[in-house]
Symmetry: C2
Subunit: 135 residues, 2 copies
DNA sequence: CACAGGTGCTTGAGTGCATCAAGTAGTCTT
DNA sequence: AAGACTACTTGATGCACTCAAGCACCTGTG
């Protein structure tokens, strides 16, 4: 055989590796870490409470505090007290943040670039396989 | 529709997320970080020079030094000077390290568990799609 | 041989992510 | 109004990672 077919396990490993690397690079290109980019992404749907974000990102609340502080320092995110429950701080993305987020999304070429190699039926196939794997 | 089909982009994101989490959990179960487990894995084929490892893991040499130091402290890895070029330190996995590595591999249930849901033809399909994506 | 330059690794300093424990406000229950 | 609970912050710690500087060793040139 011309190209010894790698095992599926190895292929998945490589795939995940490339995917992670691409995301990290896209974030880093605008001076963000992957974690910061994730947080920003979680805010695109509207403002969220810190605790909500911690649950969603599966991490400690104090972790969100730190990430938010760094993003706030760059003016990408705003932290406002909830008018109803003053314990709660609501995080929202600023216009500058939305701009940066768009740049990350655009620079995250993995889906665009690599998925472009697949035909429509192939993409449907992959989608079906994924839904089985994710259950 | 019963289950709004997620977009393929989202599915891939979720897949990668689950994969990473599973690996991390498997490593953590034996008290290793994902990075340490990766380093250990890179040694299963035989001893490697520190620099080689840095290139392979796409990180700084001093990073490898630190990771190796932690693994060495646990007796999972041995660091011996190369007899030919005494600048070079060759890292090799110890029997204890091999043991731990096996445990990680066994605990990394992602492929075993999730891939088990696919039939043989489906696995072949996925493998072909992956090879297109990885080019 | 000697010595200048290159190589391989380590050290030290600094940053960020992540987690835990403890603290502070604010809310809710009774 | 007191006590329990909640939401977030602070402080401390550990690891991953990077860069700059340093040390030991090798190598090519004269």
């Amino acid at each position: 055989m011309t190209e010894a077919a790698e095992s599926l396990d190895q292929q998945l490993w490589d795939f995940v590796y490339a995917y992670d690397a691409a995301y990290d690079a896209a974030a880093r290109a605008v001076g963000l870490s992957a974690a910061q980019a994730c947080l920003l992404d979680a805010l695109t749907g509207g403002s969220r409470a810190m605790g909500e974000l911690a649950t969603e990102l599966l991490c400690d609340a104090s972790n969100v505090t730190q990430l938010a502080a760094r993003l706030e320092a760059r003016g990408l995110v705003a932290r406002d007290p909830d008018p109803v429950d003053r314990r709660v701080k609501r995080l929202s993305i600023t216009p500058a943040g939305r701009q940066v987020h768009q740049t990350v999304r655009a620079g995250f070429d993995f889906p665009a670039d690599r998925l472009g190699r697949l035909s429509d039926p192939e993409r449907r196939q992959l989608s079906q396989l994924m839904s089985k794997l994710l259950a």
